[in-house]
Symmetry: C3
Subunit: 133 residues, 3 copies
């Protein structure tokens, strides 16, 4: 269910893949997302036809062109504590898997509800589950 968008600057496919794995493993480890619940769009911007604009020091965090934007859409219900654990783990794994320093990992979460997802076949899976239980 989390639908994840990752945007980076001039990243090769290996780095994109590593960042995708970092975010997914963090979701699995901290907020109990099923390992198979993987839906990501990874985009590398070339700096000309697409780019990231950012402040290099906002809130005392030093950022540079290794910056990664992580956008996560998921169902509501996770506590603030779980989200804090999620951000911490994304930053750790981005460093471990992709060599991206934690200072360069920006995360934004948007929440929706059970009726807002179809995983294929034209079905609203979370509603069907409820109805079948």
């Amino acid at each position: 269910m989390p639908f994840v968008r990752i945007d980076a600057l001039r990243a090769g496919s290996d780095r994109l893949d590593a960042l995708g794995r970092a975010v997914h493993d963090a979701l699995v480890q901290t907020i109990a997302i099923p390992p198979g619940d993987l839906f990501q769009v990874l985009t590398s911007h070339d700096g000309a036809t697409g780019t990231l604009r950012y402040d290099p020091g906002f809130l005392g965090v030093h950022r540079d062109d290794d910056l990664v934007f992580v956008g996560i859409t998921m169902r509501s219900g996770r506590t603030a504590e779980r989200k804090q654990a999620l951000y911490r783990r994304i930053a750790e794994l981005a460093q471990e898997y992709a060599g991206t320093e934690p200072r360069n990992v920006f995360v934004s979460v948007t929440e929706n509800e059970s009726a807002d997802w179809s995983f294929g076949d034209g079905v609203a899976h979370y509603l069907q589950y409820v109805q079948n239980v």
Copy 2:
């Protein structure tokens, strides 16, 4: 008002266009979106500078590289039943227009409110309507 993002892998412009039409026609037919209310970003990823990561079998749905991610932002207020009808129709029309099998159509909806839209000219159109009525 729905603002739609569609992401696919190695899709030609004809397939992108067909997918866009499928989603829009489904919105018009199932949740009464005005035919002219069309705002979409369609992106084909080459698999290198941009790609989709997904699980090929999550929830028993078999997916492959024909997978399409559909992200819809719209005002709140649609019932779960209407959303179910929407997902069903998107899947049907994606197959009819673009040859994309229903198993490869993933949809995620995010909702906002009337104050959250400007359709041009710097105006918050839904608020203005309310005020003028």
Copy 3:
């Protein structure tokens, strides 16, 4: 905190940059975003591997291929009046900085909460602030 996506058709890097500055300055001027709070993804679509689909006249606004989609994710709490001022100012500055006419500026806002942001270092900054005060 606002996380901004801007999508345009066949825009050079100068135009993308100007549009990014227009949206950011409008956020600073109308809803009191700190000047350093800048996080944007700017994408130019070539019309083939990526494109915008839109209606050229919905709600009486005449649009053409200079159309710009602005998607803003930010914390909830801004009034409808502030949002109206924001849309107005984005349209003004898009014209002033990028030569984009107000009729071609489409804006959609999505809101989330304080726990939904990490600006780097794996920290949920808005929560930490609250805890430290």
